[in-house]
């Protein structure tokens, strides 16, 4: 008997079959991982279970009884809870208020929080959540906010818990704590569905794993009797190199020199400095990686380097020339390429065609315009060339409206554009965010190729795996400061985690 069984689920959207005859069986007390690339149909399947989508075909059973789930309310009544990837919390409510929201106990219209408080405290204690339930949610860390989401499910006595990519925003230490919590919950009788694409986590915590690929169920395996290699092959459909082969870096001249960069963070009232006295060099032929948990000043640093935001003090040099006061275009022309963190916000004009996006910083050069008129044939030719070189896939070639393309191919447009400009410094901010294993592999190879051709690469990444695999040198940022300068060959995941969470710091001196 399965606590939840989804039989032969088919869900179609115009043009694609998101779920094609999928059967998923969840046992009581198990942690069941759901593995698949972007667009494999994991989220759709979970949305069907949570009542957000109505499938065309297929039935859902709970304890062998057929159930009809038409909305999240039904799911909740059946004891199904979900931690969404983007938390659904009210920021200026306290932890406790967030937990009871929607299921408040009232007496003649007046809130009765006493019982709720006791229940939440008991739950929090049972799972070892060290959480202050009277704090407002906006004042607690992301890891704590996730615990609030978990407490929400526990408070509602949900027995089937869905976690949608829960580790994406956590530090290694927080991830470890979450894994422990998940195991505890399973031991206490909960059944857990765990969406992820991180193989390590599956090996560590899951009992069984179901793999989806392009809307089809590839298979369900016992984690104890499988390997990471086998899982990744099931996921992608071919063998994937999990680690990169790379040669020693041949480090050359200093390309980017940053000295004593400071920026006050008063704009949004946090009062903290966003950037505190940052100094470092990036040399030709190396990949320097800036690691850190999201929101510790990496974005501000990139904005300062690329000119998207001003700085208060400090200096920036490209090949010895100060660009501290240079405008964005001048910096671009000085040889900085920038793969932005948010490709939809900064990287692309989504309503423009693929071709028009490839000339975003160069449309005004004589190559692409004459007397103020765009040289359309040349632009199209240029785009075709990039499409071939970088294997950019799209419906209508260079004329494709960028909005209609997949995330991986959109990222390839940016990558192609930035690399094609033949920059001296490539700043890549989370270049693999949201991409599938195949695309990640491709982008990592391109970054390495840039390094090997003598370019300086500054990589900003939140993914420890990426940090360790790709970089030649690692700087760790914590609360706007650089707290570590380490060699990836001589540092462990655990150590990096300590730096990232502020538990450990070195004096980093740059001459």
């Amino acid at each position: 008997m399965y606590i939840i069984e989804m039989r032969n689920i088919t869900k179609e959207f115009p043009g694609i079959i998101a779920n094609d005859d999928i059967t998923l069986q969840l046992k009581r007390n198990e942690i069941h991982a759901l593995l698949g690339e972007n667009g494999a149909g994991k989220s759709t399947l979970m949305s069907v279970l949570f009542g957000l989508y109505k499938p065309e075909k297929g039935r859902i059973f709970k304890n062998d009884e057929e159930v009809n789930i038409t909305g999240p309310g039904d799911a909740n009544l059946l004891g199904i809870g979900m931690v969404h990837q983007h938390f659904k919390l009210v920021h200026n409510f306290t932890v406790l208020e967030n937990i009871v929201l929607g299921v408040e106990t009232t007496k003649s219209g007046i809130l009765q929080m006493k019982e709720a408080r006791e229940k939440v405290l008991a739950l929090s204690k049972r799972y070892g959540f060290d959480i202050d339930i009277d704090k407002e949610v906006r004042h607690i860390s992301v890891g704590m906010q996730q615990r609030v989401e978990i407490l929400k499910m526990l408070y509602r006595d949900n027995e089937i818990l869905i976690f949608d990519e829960p580790t994406a925003v956590l530090t290694p230490q927080e991830i470890e704590a979450l894994m422990k919590t998940m195991k505890n919950m399973a031991a206490e009788g909960k059944s857990i569905l765990f969406i992820t694409h991180k193989l390590d986590e599956i090996m560590q915590v899951a009992d069984r794993c179901s793999v989806l690929r392009k809307g089809r169920m590839i298979g369900t395996v016992d984690v104890a009797s499988t390997s990471k290699e086998e899982l990744s092959e099931m996921m992608v459909g071919r063998k994937v190199a999990l680690s990169l082969d790379k040669e020693e870096a041949r480090v050359g001249e200093t390309i980017l020199k940053v000295r004593n960069l400071c920026q006050q963070g008063t704009k949004y009232g946090s009062g903290k400095n966003k950037l505190k006295d940052i100094s470092f060099d990036v040399k030709a032929g190396e990949i320097l990686c800036i690691a850190g948990i999201e929101g510790n000043g990496q974005t501000d640093l990139v904005y300062a380097l690329t000119g998207l935001e001003g700085i208060d003090s400090g200096e920036i040099f490209m090949e010895g020339n100060s660009i501290t006061k240079a405008k964005i275009r001048q910096r671009t022309e000085s040889g900085i390429a920038h793969i932005p963190e948010d490709r939809h916000k900064h990287g692309l004009v989504l309503n423009y065609s693929l071709a028009y996006n490839t000339i975003l910083q160069t449309y005004y050069t004589s190559a692409f315009q004459k007397n103020g008129f765009l040289r359309r044939p040349t632009i199209m030719e240029h785009a075709k060339n990039l499409i071939n070189r970088f294997d950019i896939r799209s419906g209508q070639g260079e004329e494709t409206i960028t909005r209609s393309m997949s995330g991986g191919n959109q990222q390839k447009i940016i990558l192609a554009r930035e690399i094609d400009r033949d920059p001296k410094l490539l700043i890549a901010v989370q270049p693999t965010r949201g991409l599938d294993v195949g695309a990640i592999e491709y982008i990592h190879k391109q970054l390495l190729a840039q390094r090997d051709s003598g370019k300086a690469v500054l990589l900003i990444s939140l993914e420890l795996e990426e940090v360790m695999n790709v970089s030649d040198r690692i700087l760790v940022m914590y609360e706007g400061e650089i707290v570590a300068d380490v060699d990836p060959k001589q540092v462990t995941f655990q150590e990096l985690g300590l730096y990232m969470s502020g538990a450990k710091r070195d004096e980093v001196v740059v001459v």
Binding site: E165, I328, Q330, P340, K345, H346, G347, V349, Q369, F373
Partner: protein, 370 residues
């Protein structure tokens, strides 16, 4: 036609029908007996003679230009609700030059009037542009205010310099200051009757169409258009690309102002003897321009047609007075129909959602998965 094209066309048709339907209901309520013939007049009057067709084109001229003004702003990420003020200023300057600069030979004077109207409209448009660029004042707010400033200031200027005491309006233009008919009068006239009465349609409509084509070329073919549209679609990406967004905001607003200003000039130089009244209400052409722009889905060539369609409905609507409907009611009905056209994007997105929305939902869902 591709699917998007069909959606565009359908949604334009739907809003017009919806507007007509509501207009018809208002007619029914006020006088059920005359409602049907009056309604038929709206639908057919503009096409009942060549002269009427000419009048449709005549009326379309200014609103095509204000429509282009609004649409150009929209394509570059701005909402130019100030077309009314720019129009008013352009009109005043054109009239002033037509009356006072009689020492210039007529063709030069006409050209000067139009160009001066463009310049003044551009300068007036620059004000909300600069406020937005340097002080982050939303252009809708500053446009609304500059509309009123323009109206009162122009009233003052008319009274001070070119007032006709007898009519209480600006003075009439000398007849050689009107736009030449360019032979259109021979085409668009009554076929019968003693006078062979011609429409006043003139070279203005040709200028309007040429300007629409020019706007199309600027938006689609030039680096200037590339920059402006990049700003309009995605300001952050434009900034990332090193495009000077502040300068673009100002140049875009100036261009819009010039278009509306030319609209003002062509409107009052059309040979019908139209003169500017001293009234405390904003020029409606600026707001009709919003409907024209939306109905044409902000495409310059679409706007030529939507402008003609809107003026067609205006002409037929005004004719309803012969069925005993008061002018106020006529205005209400026309306004309902015209302003309904502004809902075209609502209908378009509704069509999009119901017919293909689920696919979109899915892609955003998957996009969020990291």
């Amino acid at each position: 036609m591709n699917r998007d094209g069909i959606f565009n066309f359908l949604s334009s048709i739907i809003v017009i029908i919806a507007g007509l339907l509501i207009g018809f209901i208002i007619l029914l309520i006020s006088d059920a007996g005359q409602a049907i013939p009056a309604f038929m007049t709206i639908l057919t009057f503009g096409a009942t003679s060549m002269r009427n067709v000419g009048d449709v084109l005549l009326l379309a001229t200014p609103i095509i230009l204000t429509g282009l003004s609004v649409a150009f702003a929209f394509r570059t990420g701005l909402f130019n609700i100030g077309a009314s003020g720019q129009f008013t200023f352009g009109a005043f300057v054109a009239i002033y030059i037509s009356i006072e600069f009689t020492f210039l030979p007529p063709p030069v004077r006409i050209l000067t009037s139009i160009l001066a109207a463009a310049v003044v409209g551009a300068l007036w448009g620059a004000i909300p542009g600069m406020l937005k660029a340097y002080r982050n004042v939303h252009e809708v707010i500053s446009c609304i205010m500059t509309n009123y400033v323009a109206m009162f200031f122009v009233n003052f200027m008319i009274i001070s310099f070119i007032f006709d005491q007898g009519r209480g309006t600006s003075q009439a233009l000398p007849s050689d200051s009107n736009l030449p008919s360019a032979g259109l009068g021979y085409i668009f006239r009554e076929p019968f009757g003693a006078a062979y009465r011609s429409s006043h349609v003139n070279i203005g409509i040709i200028i309007a169409i040429l300007i629409a084509i020019l706007v199309y070329i600027i938006l689609e073919k030039t680096t200037f258009g590339y920059e402006l549209k990049a700003c309009g679609f995605n300001k952050s990406a434009a900034k990332y690309a090193g495009i000077n967004e502040n300068r673009n905001i100002i140049t875009s607003m100036m261009f819009c102002g010039a278009l509306a200003g030319i609209g003002g000039a062509l409107n009052y130089m059309n040979g019908t003897g139209l003169s500017m009244s001293i009234i405390d209400s904003l020029a409606t052409e600026g707001f009709t321009g919003i409907s024209v722009a939306f109905l044409g889905l902000n495409h310059p060539i679409g706007i030529i047609f939507s402008g003609i369609l809107v003026s067609y409905l205006y002409l037929g609507g005004a004719r309803m007075q012969v069925f005993g409907f008061s002018i106020e009611l006529v205005e209400i009905v026309i306004s309902v129909i015209i302003y309904f056209c502004a809902f075209v994007f609502l209908v378009k997105s509704f069509l999009g959602k119901t017919l293909r929305g689920q696919g979109k939902k899915e892609s955003s869902k998957e996009g969020g998965e990291a």
